[in-house]
């Protein structure tokens, strides 16, 4: 290879760079969070939190908004508000207004799946207020960029567990799986500060109901293994009255706080004909806090306590499950267990919607108190 050839190569590699559309970071508005609402006219209203890297500006983040009949159209419209090119490659969170979520969010996710530029790791959440209001919160209240804050809020609460850490890919997979319905975290405002207010229950891609945020732990137990989580529980004092060492007080309830060392659950279809399911929840716990002194050294008392805890958790699960049955949403995947027992292994959503309200689930809780700290 002679020098002339080498020169040609070097020159061509210089000129070839112009084949790509340049994306200089100073000219990009990197979208961090999208808030999606539907206006009364049926248009999509997008509120975008963008990062901009401009020497002259003090603020790194900016909120822009746009309207359009498609998401892409709304982004273009929002682009008119800013002197930056909006880049969707690093979207971390899609926030849907509650009304939008009730109408179904699949159309907005479809474009996200179709566009190879949008990351699959993007998280999804529902906002109790219109998404626009959530995104326009003043930054003083949270001392950081709202998009980043919401993303971290969800992710930190979901660390080591599946929920409420639901990515685009998770949602889509659950949506398309027969006999499974997705859940998404619901975020609300309290004194102008966002917090996780509850668990949005979806039927297909539509928001149909809500569970209180106190049930987060129970949901996580159903989703898979959990470790090092706190369980706060209140039992009736009645069964323990006889064991109380001190003078029996007037308190009606016994409050306990456990640390779950290991928690797991297993469901199975017991009888296919009568649709009887059994769900076993197993927990190894350490007792950390108790509001009254009861002699836990006593084998009998400990057994009693475990029993009462089991009963309480069981009734909680039954309450959650009856709500879910009323909503006809199946986030606990009982449909999957039914499907794999079927001969052809296929189950349509309509079929399962008819069967689901009639299934019976027997919740069996096994709590095992491993340590109870200082005993007295």
């Amino acid at each position: 290879m002679n020098y002339r050839m080498i020169l040609v190569f070097i020159l061509s590699s210089l000129f070839l760079t112009s084949c790509l559309s340049s994306q200089e970071i100073e000219r990009l508005g990197v979208i961090n969070t999208r808030g999606i609402d539907i206006t009364d006219q049926g248009e999509i209203e997008l509120s975008l939190v963008i990062f901009q890297f401009e020497a002259q500006s003090q603020n790194f983040t900016k909120v822009v908004s746009g309207k359009g009949s498609t998401i892409k159209g709304a982004v273009v419209n929002a682009g008119l508000e800013t002197n930056f090119i909006l880049a969707p490659g690093k979207i971390q969170l899609d926030l849907f207004g509650k009304e939008t979520a009730e109408k179904g969010i699949l159309p907005y996710l479809d474009t996200a799946k179709r566009d190879a530029n949008i990351p699959d790791t993007m998280l999804l959440a529902v906002s109790n207020t219109p998404a626009k209001d959530m995104i326009n919160i003043q930054e003083q209240n949270i001392s950081m960029n709202i998009g980043q804050f919401l993303h971290d809020l969800i992710q930190e609460n979901g660390t080591g567990q599946k929920f409420p850490n639901v990515s685009l890919q998770d949602f889509i997979t659950t949506f398309y799986d027969d006999g499974q319905d997705p859940l998404l975290p619901i975020i609300d405002l309290q004194d102008n500060k966002p917090f996780i207010a509850g668990i949005g229950v979806f039927k297909e891609d539509k928001l149909v109901g809500e569970l209180p945020n106190g049930d987060l732990l129970y949901i996580n137990l159903m989703e898979g293994n959990i470790k090092d989580r706190w369980l706060e529980i209140s039992l009736s004092m009645e069964p323990f009255k006889e064991f109380l060492k001190n003078e029996p007080k007037d308190e009606e309830e016994l409050h306990l706080a456990f640390n779950i060392i290991k928690g797991d659950s297993k469901s199975k279809l017991k009888e296919k004909k009568s649709l009887k399911y059994e769900t076993e929840v197993m927990m190894d716990v350490n007792l950390f806090e108790i509001s009254a002194e009861i002699p836990l050294d006593n084998e009998e008392v400990r057994k009693k306590l475990e029993e009462e805890v089991n009963k309480k958790i069981q009734s909680d699960y039954e309450r959650i499950f009856s709500t879910l049955q009323e909503l006809n949403a199946d986030p606990f995947d009982y449909g999957v267990l039914y499907r794999i027992k079927k001969k052809d292994g296929k189950l349509t959503t309509e079929e399962w919607s008819e069967i689901y309200p009639d299934i019976k689930v027997d919740f069996k809780i096994k709590t095992n108190i491993i340590r109870h700290g200082i005993t007295n």
Partner: protein
């Protein structure tokens, strides 16, 4: 022409390298989209289809080896001329060459398509195509040894990508495999057939055979080559079934690449970009080997100088890549190549073997007859 080409000893390589030639040529653009096409036919039992395809490949490789064994040092071009005479043999050989070129075109088009889809929608195809092809062209100019070297190097180097799969593996749902054995036998066979495009490549044994030393030791590495590809395909298939829900997988054209989309690190958020670019290493052996095989075939059949045929193919391919940009035409070409390859690669050797054996018997009888006289 000579039925057995005379290959100088310094150009010959050890039989082990046929493993990398086969593996390098088989693993390419096909594997990027294969899970979807197999899944469409045989659903959650797709992994069985792949095992069936593997068994078929083992049989075909064995048959190919038996054909080649009847000659001291021949390749497919020579064998066909020997069996069917100069004219028919040349036509059949030309079909092989055209097939190599068509596969080359479809690989190039598909990769350009993926680059445009994932990275730069406005990047002119002719530029991507020519820069990749220039690399392959340069390698082939270096001769057969550099082709083997490239095949070896670039089949080993991209293997690190497999480590990234740990993330989709942790997200798999094993219930997707249940209930097993739902697909009927025809469905499983159809699924096995849909692997054809991905698994073509072991036909290179027919062309490369004269370049190998120690002919009796060729069979084993060749079988290892197809087995390695099968394992790779099986890994991607199983993860895809577990990771995607059925309806989703049926829609995803590039399932294998999508698997990498959920991998993310604080320092590299979008690993899928790197995977798409890194995939160039995966397809480079494809381009190099196919380019070499077609130019070598032209030299064998028509005594065209390898360099000049290389230049011509290069220009023709670049022009084609520049003009074809519609997705559906690319799919059609790929589909066409896949159809042809099924007959040419899986079925044709099975027909060829009895002809070779009969001819050999007839010859030895004739020889015996003439000896008796």
């Amino acid at each position: 022409m000579d039925i057995s080409p005379k290959i100088r000893n310094n150009l010959k390589v050890r039989p082990l390298y046929i493993l990398f030639m086969i593996f390098g040529l088989q693993v390419g653009v096909g594997i990027m989209g294969a899970p979807r096409f197999i899944f469409m036919e045989s659903m959650q039992d797709s992994w069985i289809s792949i095992l069936i395809a593997w068994a078929a490949m083992v049989i075909v490789i064995y048959v190919m080896f038996q054909i080649l064994k009847q000659y001291p040092n021949a390749d497919i071009f020579g064998i066909q001329v020997d069996l069917f005479g100069k004219w028919v043999g040349s036509i059949l050989g030309t079909i092989y060459i055209l097939f190599f070129l068509a596969s080359l075109l479809s690989v190039l088009l598909t990769y350009v398509n993926v680059i445009q889809l994932f990275l730069y929608p406005t990047f002119p195809p002719i530029i991507i195509g020519s820069s990749v092809l220039l690399l392959a062209h340069y390698c082939v100019i270096g001769g057969v040894r550099s082709v083997v070297g490239a095949a070896f190097l670039f089949s080993v180097l991209p293997l690190w990508l497999l480590f990234l799969l740990y993330d989709p593996i942790t997200r798999m749902d094993w219930y997707h495999f249940l209930p097993v054995f739902q697909s009927s036998i025809p469905e499983l066979l159809k699924g096995a057939k849909s692997t054809t495009y991905t698994l073509t490549g072991f036909e290179i044994l027919f062309v490369f055979y004269p370049f190998l030393t120690k002919k009796n030791k060729v069979l084993k590495p060749a079988l290892f080559g197809v087995t390695a590809t099968t394992i790779l395909l099986l890994i991607f298939m199983i993860i895809s079934i577990g990771y995607f829900s059925p309806d989703e997988l049926k829609k995803d054209d590039w399932a294998t690449l999508t698997l990498f989309k959920s991998v993310s690190y604080p320092f590299i958020e979008r690993l899928d970009y790197i995977v798409v670019v890194g995939w160039m290493m995966v397809i480079l052996p494809n381009l190099v080997i196919l380019l070499w095989a077609s130019s070598y075939g032209l030299k064998r059949l028509y005594r065209i100088k390898q360099k000049s045929s290389l230049h011509v193919t290069f220009v023709v391919l670049i022009v084609l890549v520049g003009f074809i940009k519609e997705n559906h035409i690319i799919y059609k070409i790929t589909d066409y190549v896949s159809q042809v390859s099924f007959w040419l690669i899986f079925v044709y050797p099975l027909i060829l073997l009895p002809i070779v054996l009969i001819k050999k018997k007839w010859l030895s009888k004739k020889k015996k007859g003439s000896d008796a006289k």
